[in-house]
Amino acid sequence: MVVLICLSDDARAFSQSDDMDHKFHEQADQAVRDVLREVLGLDSKRAEALRPDSPLFGALPELDSMAVAGLLTELEDRLGIVIDDDDVDAEMLETFGALTAFAARKLAA
């Protein structure tokens, strides 16, 4: 009996944390799309068409380092997160999916 209760508690805890991860991911996804639209002047259609593997920094010529700096500041403001300068590297900026996953991790932290 005790075991059963424990199991169901564990299962509930797991599904709650799964829900939270999903929520953070959705929130990060929308914020990254919005900020890219602002910084790059993308129209809504192009911003909505971004996929996890869509390349960002390095592939988009308009996304220079100054634009990336502004993009990170905007993400911080929108999501209420703090991005440590040491966290910023080419990998997290490589694709839309990588940047979204990074922002979602910061939200969960």
Binding site: V39, L40, M66, V68, A69, L72, T73, D85
Partner: protein, 205 residues
């Protein structure tokens, strides 16, 4: 030396002093700023934009410029306008409106936050870390995202806070100061114009 200025509506009864955005944002906001000044003139509101030392058309080297020089330039132009002094500050321009009687600010920010963007951008393109750059910036002039900044300007800006009461509307429109490519937004100009007119009416000007 008298600062270079751009004037619209010199004969209008109401006059505003416009304080431009700083560094790269000055370029991004130049078009918006001039569009706003033209729109104000259509409503019989004159305005004067200061070119800060080391920025825009001004011939001083930015490396020799301090915040005190910027403030002095602003004060010199302010002295040519009738009191009470009403200022419209764009972004970091709000760090220079402390001697103003009535303040309107578009998306103001502290010196530390403005520098953070420049340091981050430089860290990404140079391979130095942000903390390494901070150390170097305190020792001698360093080029940050294209701007040669002296230790004096750097430390002054780190401390530079927004002072005094101001009207800071949350206008809907593009955040042009973040835009990677030169852009404009007539809706933001209209929103700013409407809010400035309302502010001037409320001030009884």
């Amino acid at each position: 030396v008298t600062p270079i200025t751009l004037k619209f509506g010199a004969s209008a009864s109401r006059q505003l002093l416009i304080l431009p955005a700083l560094f790269e944002e000055a370029n991004r906001m130049r078009r918006f700023t001039v569009q706003l000044m033209r729109a104000l003139e259509m409503h019989d509101i004159g305005s004067t934009l200061v070119d800060l030392p080391g920025q825009g058309e001004d011939s001083n080297a930015l490396a020799d410029v301090t915040v005190a020089d910027w403030q002095q330039a602003v004060d010199a132009v302010a002295a040519t306008l009738t009191k009470p002094l009403s200022t419209v500050a764009i972004r970091g321009g709000a760090l220079l409106d402390r001697h103003s009687d009535r303040r309107w600010r578009l998306a103001p920010d502290t010196g530390a936050r403005l520098l953070r963007d420049l340091v981050r951008a430089t860290a990404m393109s140079s391979g130095s870390s942000a903390s390494e750059l901070d150390t170097k910036l305190r020792m001698g002039p360093i080029r940050l995202a294209g701007n040669l900044i002296s230790p004096t300007l750097y430390t002054e800006l780190l401390e530079a806070d927004l002072k005094g009461d101001a009207r800071t509307p949350d206008l809907s429109g593009k955040k042009l100061w973040r835009s990677a490519e030169p852009d404009d937004d007539p809706a933001l100009v209209d929103a700013a114009l409407a809010d400035i007119r309302e502010w001037l009416e409320a001030c009884g000007a």
